[in-house]
Symmetry: C2
Subunit: 137 residues, 2 copies
DNA sequence: TCGAATCCCAACTCGATTGGTCGGGATTAT
DNA sequence: ATAATCCCGACCAATCGAGTTGGGATTCGA
């Protein structure tokens, strides 16, 4: 179970933007070179973040990306959900399709718990937390 | 981020064995048919669990698998680690290779926190918890 | 009006992983 | 012996991850 590069890069880019929040939009090439991320790949990542409504792009000469909301209003969970897809660990949680196995439910509780643990951990951190030089532990 | 079938099947098999703990070994074919898992695939899974020291196999006519330890001594984290590999979210946590990026550390704290949350959630549940008909929440 | 900077997008590659299957061994109780 | 069982390496198809390529469409400034 490993975080994808997509997700790692995406969060880095968002933290980067959070550090420049309020200023002019930042171009793809700037983010990519400052963060050491392959530009064409970052482009795909930003497209997802845009589609999720987390960043706003402006095109043309001095265009670029900026955050769509205040840094305190964007959680890491938002970013991860936008990049990793639905983010539910096992298929049968929402639809609850029967659970015909006797111990299937027992195992499933594990995945549900884990789901909650992950969710709790990620929704509790916002980009503004990350721009301050230390996550309080 | 999704749990693999391998892992799902593996935990189901372990819970199954936990429910019969202390009795005769259970054959692959029995587990597979009772749990609805493709037998040849389950065989590969059991091999990993055996290599991890979580189950013991005996061959020959009335052979099969049994747990190597008491159900309370096997955590879900043990099972998942045996089946999912190293289970660390991002490569640079143990070796800490520089962190030359300015905000790399900020993002990394997120992954470390998440790592802890997952680890805590999984080490806290043992097979004996799962054989009782309800995980206390 | 032209061109450069910028975002937008679909298609492609390439290797690893997932989810299996297949075919034969080696062991052991009866 | 023989049947039941685990053991194991090889194989396979589909998907996913991590990018790349090549071209658009927009917008600002000169």
């Amino acid at each position: 179970m490993r975080i994808s590069s997509r997700c790692e890069y995406g969060l880095r880019a968002m933290v980067y933007l959070a550090g420049r929040s309020g200023a002019d939009p930042v171009s793809l090439s700037t983010i990519a070179s400052d963060e050491g991320i392959p530009m064409a790949f970052l482009e795909r990542i930003m497209a997802r973040l845009r589609d999720a409504g987390l960043v706003v792009a402006t095109r043309g000469v001095s265009g670029g990306y900026r955050l769509s909301r205040a840094t305190a209003e964007i959680s890491v969970a938002d970013v991860v959900a936008a990049l990793e897809g639905p983010l539910s660990l096992v298929g049968c949680l929402p639809d609850d399709h029967g659970c015909d196995r006797s111990d299937g439910c027992a195992s499933r509780q594990v995945w549900r718990r884990l789901d909650e643990a992950i969710s709790d951990a990620l929704t509790g951190i916002t980009l503004s937390d990350l721009t301050m030089e230390a996550v309080t532990r």
